[in-house]
């Protein structure tokens, strides 16, 4: 177990070590030239996305929890839909819709009779544009967590506020928000981690951030060491976020008020206001999901036939293969780690499991850098040994194959399945283990006959979540895939980068459809936790 954790921690260690022993010349060059830009852009992007997701996420959560308006129940889960869209996909979809020849500008010109240069139209391929794109697909994190927090809040606390004559707005600002703050911070830190990890969107929009910088330094300038140093800085930022999240989670226990669950009595809105609320909830869904999905559909209709002929089935097969392989492996490892921790919760084991779970926070580019460096070294060592002793060249048996890619996926996504498996396990009372043991079942049999059947749902969820994450993953796939090995995500990104937006649509659509699965899963679990309905169970 410690071994598993150590191997999974390898990429991070590599990056940190390189950061300290790398080539200094390139680093000072970077620091003097592009580094300030990276920092500035990454910061600005984080600020924009943070503010955007905060407003949309908490706002819609509050509306759907506390206000009664037409279509509220439907909105509760519709609001999750944008989660299924990878940011880089809506980025290029919007580019297609909003550029000069796109439907929006063409229509405007047709209506008003404008010509080229007659009018101002905001450039979508810019830093603010990237911030909007990321906001549109990431706000559900804040929405989900703040919604859960609002639901958890004791009705009493809110009702006390109302009896004291606070207006709904005041109840929100002075009671609900402060109570939900730890959850909101958690959601926000997830959003910021995703923002920092994003490669596809910023690359496509030509915004220079750390992730694109890592790519350019390595592949453009051929400086892996400097790239690793950039990665280390990015890692530092992520660690800060993790600490922030941990800290806010620790605060959470002090924020729990009485645990009584009652149906929250919603504010009844007048008809006009009700429709305003509906509009407020519908717009992020339309912008973040419906519009891009429709655009992708219409493009796909045009190019599907042609694309199907050009290796599309193979792309699907590659994506599915990687996703299936990784999700099953991740489940096995997660079971091993989580159950090991349950059996023997020593500090060392706990720390090991904790480290193994950190991968999700680490951007794919950083992991890719951290994977390829040690693997390449290992390959060269093996190759040299084989040449010296066997007289054959083994070539790149690790770094040039799926091994490296699947390993990187595991490092990054193990946390997802680990968390799901752990929360499933945590729901099973330890006395069940001990009963099984005292009835003569050894730990393995206990796991097989007691735990696994009971938490079948969690196991499925774990597989599904990792599966979809792998389908969507872009930067690590770009770096680590074997030569000529393409997946849906890679193809969609490459075609889009070549301005063949319509041609990229079928791949993008396939990813988005796969992405719907966990969203549906989430929305079902949300429906079950509706206030007053089995919230105690």
């Amino acid at each position: 177990m410690l071994l598993v954790a150590a191997v999974l921690g390898l990429p991070v260690v590599t990056v940190v070590v390189y950061a300290f022993y790398g080539a200094d010349g390139v680093w000072s060059h970077l620091a003097g030239t592009v580094l300030p830009t990276y920092v500035y852009n990454s910061l600005l992007l984080s600020l924009g996305v943070g503010a955007g997701t905060l407003v949309i996420g908490t706002g819609t959560a509050w509306l759907t929890v506390m206000c009664d308006f037409p279509g509220r129940r439907l909105m509760t889960w519709l609001l999750l839909l944008p989660l299924s869209m990878p940011a880089y996909i809506i980025a290029y979809t919007y580019t297609g819709m909003l550029d000069f020849a796109g439907p929006v500008q063409s229509t405007l010109r047709a209506w008003f009779g404008w010509g080229y240069g007659d009018y101002f139209f905001p450039e979508i391929r810019s830093l603010p544009g990237a911030a909007v794109m990321l906001t549109l697909v990431l706000y559900p994190y804040v929405y989900l967590l703040s919604r859960a927090a609002f639901l958890e809040q004791s009705v009493c606390a809110l009702d006390v506020g109302r009896t004291m004559g606070l207006s709904p707005w005041q109840v929100f600002r002075r009671i609900a928000l402060p109570l939900a703050r730890p959850a909101i911070v958690t959601g926000l830190s997830l959003v910021l981690m995703e923002t920092l990890a994003d490669y596809g969107t910023v690359k496509y929009f030509g915004v220079s951030t750390f992730t694109t910088g890592i790519f350019r330094t390595w592949f453009g300038m051929g400086e892996p060491a400097a790239a690793a140093q950039l990665a280390a800085v990015l890692l530092g930022a992520v660690v800060l976020l993790i600490l922030l999240e941990r800290w806010s989670r620790r605060q959470r226990q002090y924020h729990h008020t009485s645990g009584r669950y009652q149906p929250l009595s919603a504010y009844r809105l007048s008809l006009g206001r009700g429709y305003l609320a509906l509009l407020a909830c519908v717009s992020p869904v339309v912008l973040g999901f419906a519009l891009p999905a429709l655009q992708l559909l219409s493009w796909s209709a045009d190019t599907m036939a042609e694309q199907l002929g050009r290796g599309f089935p193979q792309l699907v097969f590659h994506s599915l293969l990687l996703a299936a392989l990784t999700s099953i492996l991740a489940l096995g490892l997660a079971l091993l780690l989580a159950y090991g921790r349950r059996l023997r919760g020593t500090t060392a084991v706990r720390a090991a499991v904790g480290t193994a779970g950190l991968g999700y926070a680490i951007p794919g580019t950083v992991i890719a850098v951290g994977v390829i460096l040690p693997f390449a070294w290992l390959d060269n060592t093996i190759d040299a040994w084989a040449r010296a002793h066997l007289g054959v060249s083994t070539g790149l048996i690790l770094s040039g194959t799926l091994v490296a890619l699947v390993f990187a996926y595991l490092v990054r996504f193990l946390a997802v399945s680990l968390q799901t498996v752990e929360s499933g396990l945590a729901k099973i009372a330890i006395s069940l283990d001990e009963t099984a043991r005292s009835l003569g079942a050894n730990p393995t049999r206990t796991l097989r006959t007691v735990h696994m059947p009971i938490m079948r749902g969690s196991l499925l969820t774990a597989v599904l979540l990792v599966f979809v994450d792998v389908m969507k993953e872009l930067p690590a796939t770009l770096i680590l895939r074997p030569f000529d090995f393409n997946t849906l995500a890679v193809r969609a990104f490459e075609l889009a980068s070549d301005e063949q937006l319509a041609a990229a649509a079928p791949s993008a659509l396939a990813i988005a459809i796969a992405g719907l699965a966990p969203v549906i899963l989430l929305s079902r679990s949300i429906a079950r936790s509706r206030p007053g309905q089995g919230a105690n169970a």
Binding site: E434, A436, R437, S438, R445
Partner: protein, 346 residues
């Protein structure tokens, strides 16, 4: 059957069990009683093999199962355990739950054993039901049947009745005692409720702060407590101070009490004497008067709390037709056949 020799268990630096020794003969029902946090559940878990002693040994049926150097894993001890939360497997039916520990048995034997236990606990009709569909008492019986199924050498129950409603708490202990007797089971249970302990156990160990203060029959613990804690924890009663006159007389504000005294009590020594409610008789002719400050009707008896002239309060059990009002003065008289005395300096 069960033999604990100077067992100590620690959680980190915190000593949960200190130098515990205990024996339980085959076929008897033992009970550990004590306030929460006294280490009684830890003791069960140590016997079951979930905790490892830092000192001492656990012997089970003539075999050393726990020592500092070696611990037989729980699944190889043949010790049945019923947990406080029952821990029924939610995905298995009643019959499957009971059969869980019989995986290695031949199919026919297993089915027979399960059927036998279903009959024993009176749940034959519910064999195919799932735990969530059962009442609390039924779940309890499934848990016990499941633990009994593999014929364990020792059956242990941790607070087996705490989750039941009062009526079942009265009835189940008696029923279980019958079942254990019929099956010749050696059992050890943990409780903090002395009426349960009295109802079930042949032998009771009173625990406090990780040690066994005293163990013996219920009668002995009640009438011959060896420590103040046991005197206080088992049964009701109060201590009144007195001065030792000689080896069998103590002078108190209720007159001179007579009875055998422990050897440590020397003439002239200040001691506390335990007065159980049944040691104080209501007697209108008695020279000692006391004022009733509280009364509780208990059906056959009244339990009066009365204040002596000194303000000290004692309990007095009176037959229930002696109905007196609060504030009334009544005559009381101590009647003890033996003295339980603790030197005040200790």
């Amino acid at each position: 059957m069960l033999d604990l020799k100077n067992v100590s268990v620690s959680y980190g630096d915190y000593p949960a069990l200190i130098d515990v020794s205990l024996t339980l003969q085959a076929g008897l029902i033992g009970c550990l009683i004590g306030p929460s946090g006294c280490g009684k559940s830890t003791l069960l878990r140590t016997i079951a093999g979930f905790e490892r002693p830092v000192n001492g040994e656990v012997w089970l049926d003539g075999r050393r199962v726990s020592s500092v150097a070696h611990c037989v894993p729980p699944e190889q001890r043949r010790v049945g355990m019923v947990f406080q939360d029952l821990a029924l497997f939610p995905h298995l039916s009643v019959a499957e739950n009971i059969g869980f520990g019989l995986q290695d048995w031949r199919r026919g034997d297993r089915d027979r054993r399960v059927a036998e236990l279903l009959d024993l606990v009176g749940l034959r009709d519910l064999a195919r039901s799932f735990p969530h569909a059962l009442s609390g008492g039924q779940q309890q019986r499934v848990a016990i049947a499941r633990a009994m199924a593999p014929r364990p050498k020792l059956l242990m129950l941790d607070e087996p009745f705490s989750s039941l409603d009062p009526e079942l708490r009265e009835q189940l202990p008696r029923e279980l005692r019958r079942i254990f007797r019929e099956d010749g089971i050696t059992a050890l249970l943990v409780t903090h409720d002395q009426t349960e302990a009295f109802a079930m156990a042949d032998q009771i160990g009173v625990m406090r702060d990780g040690r066994i203060e005293q163990s013996g029959s219920a009668y002995r613990l009640y009438h011959r407590p060896e420590t103040r804690f046991v005197a206080d924890f088992i049964g009701e009663g109060v201590m009144i101070p007195g001065t030792v006159l000689d080896d069998r007389r103590v002078e108190t504000e209720l007159g001179i009490l007579e009875g055998w005294l422990p050897e440590v009590c020397r003439p002239g020594m200040l001691v506390d004497i335990l007065l159980r409610p049944d040691d104080v008789i209501h007697d209108d002719d008695s020279p000692f008067k006391a004022r009733i400050v509280d009364r509780a009707f208990r059906g056959a008896h009244f339990l009066y709390t009365v204040a002596l002239d000194s303000g000290r309060r004692v309990l007095c059990l009176a037959v229930s037709h002696h109905d007196h009002k609060l504030g009334e003065d009544i005559g009381i008289r101590p009647e003890l056949d033996h003295l339980v005395a603790f030197p005040q300096s200790l």
